[in-house]
């Protein structure tokens, strides 16, 4: 049995379980819809216009807190329900991590793909470079999903899971969030397409490198975190 098939089975199980219980999906959707509604209402009341910088910051605030709300349950739920024992006995730690990371990444990407256009239209901000925006969103979500999946494994056996998850993840994610906000600002703000890409190319490189490092480090460390024996 190849490692990829094992990870694929975990991914399929995660998607199936999520589809049936909608635990993460409902909390993530509720947060995103609530945040977007509040932003829309505040703009309606204030009759104001926001620039690309504010739009970029709001977008990543939305993505970060949505991830903190929904992605942390990946390992926590396994421990709380007692299914972690069966999983430890049968699957490799790295395959479990990869399957959960893929499911978390998919959920976050879907959320970003749905909420970004809504947010930008609410703020009346147009994207100068859609490809750059898509790259920044994709790589940013991959990095965030990797960090939250790993942090979820770290805090799963502790008593203060909710608070620890955000507290541990945020400092690790600061470089990613800075690059993501800067890259999004470039994609939204610079007048023409090539200018936007030139301004955001460095951020895309940083986000890509961050994602590679986060995934590699997680795969190297997860066995020590997941298996006590």
């Amino acid at each position: 049995m190849s490692w990829a098939r094992e990870a694929g089975a975990v991914f399929a199980k995660e998607v199936r379980s999520e589809w049936r219980t909608r635990v993460a999906l409902s909390s993530v959707a509720l947060f995103a819809v609530g945040a977007l509604t509040l932003i829309g209402l505040s703009l309606y009341v204030g009759q104001g216009q926001t620039g690309p910088q504010t739009a970029a910051a709001l977008l990543w605030v939305l993505v970060f807190f949505t991830a903190a709300t929904g992605l942390g349950r990946a390992y926590v739920l396994e421990e709380e329900r007692g299914t972690a024992l069966a999983l430890r006995l049968t699957a490799r730690a790295t395959a479990v991590w990869a399957g959960k990371f893929a499911a978390n990444g998919l959920l976050l990407l879907a959320l970003a793909a749905l909420s970004a256009p809504v947010l930008l239209s609410l703020l009346k901000v147009n994207a100068a470079n859609l490809v750059l925006l898509a790259c920044v969103l994709t790589l940013g979500c991959v990095g965030i999903a990797a960090v939250f999946t790993m942090t979820s494994a770290l805090v799963a056996q502790s008593s203060a899971k909710g608070g620890l998850l955000a507290a541990l993840s945020f400092p690790v994610l600061v470089p990613l969030l800075v690059a993501a906000v800067h890259g999004t600002n470039a994609a939204l703000g610079v007048g023409n397409e090539s200018g936007a890409f030139a301004a955001g190319a460095g951020d895309v490189q940083l986000l890509g490198s961050y994602a590679v490092v986060a995934v590699t480090a997680s795969l190297m460390l997860i066995d020590f975190v997941w298996n006590e024996g």
Partner: protein
């Protein structure tokens, strides 16, 4: 609930699994509190060892350590199976044990069949629908395999745990922690049948229990906390 069928190996490998287990001074502490004193034990070729003792004496802890789910504070565990060098690492043991305990849960939102198929797939031995049906029938869940586990009674969940532990019926080491918990008389008979089959194949069984019916299944007993 479906008719319970005779428990029998459903793989060719299930024929003969002569194994031996050696525990040398296995100890576990949580901080200053020692929950498991140094346990030394040897068992081989079809033996069934009942691990008995009062609540909190470390029976479940011992089984988890042997399963590779928990690290001993001190001591050594060596599992020997035919055709392989002695296995001393936890990952090696995890891959070769069948384990069922009260704190092991299966996914409530999945059906019994989906649970068995998922765990078999990640363990590297995917099941066909026919094979999963056979495994479910073997624990008396033949007619309920496509129901979600969330609607199972506690006895049915225990039967599913036993199916999980039994796997393909070829684990060299079967670790059963209070296996008759919540089971009716036929379920208790199923446990006895599983243990008998394991013995016939030359596999080892460790039973953590205080139930006299389960203790009677053992060839000998190890008393903890005495």
């Amino acid at each position: 609930m479906g008719e319970m069928q005779p428990v029998s190996s459903d793989t060719a490998a299930g024929a003969e699994t002569r194994a031996s287990l050696r525990l040398e001074g296995v100890r576990r502490s949580f901080g200053a509190r020692r929950v498991l004193p140094g346990i030394t034990l040897e068992a081989s070729g079809g033996e069934v060892v009942a691990v008995v003792g009062p609540n909190g004496s470390g029976k479940s802890t011992l089984l988890k350590i042997v399963a590779g789910l928990m690290r001993p504070t001190r001591g050594k565990i060596v599992l020997t199976v035919p055709g392989a060098p002695p296995i001393e690492d936890a990952a090696g043991r995890r891959a070769r044990v069948g384990y069922a305990g009260p704190d092991l849960a299966l996914y409530p939102e999945l059906t019994g069949r989906e649970n068995l198929e998922f765990f078999a797939t990640v363990a590297g031995r995917p099941l066909s629908k026919q094979e999963s049906s056979k495994r479910l029938a073997a624990v008396g869940l033949g007619g309920r395999g496509d129901d979600p586990v969330s609607v199972y009674s506690s006895g049915m969940r225990q039967r599913l745990r036993l199916a999980f532990a039994r796997g393909g019926g070829d684990a060299p080491l079967l670790l059963l922690d209070e296996p008759s918990l919540a089971l009716d008389e036929r379920g208790v008979a199923l446990v006895a049948q599983m243990v008998a089959e394991q013995r016939e194949r030359g596999g080892l069984t460790l039973l953590a229990t205080n139930d006299p019916r389960e203790v009677a299944l053992g060839d000998r007993s190890v008393v903890l906390g005495a």
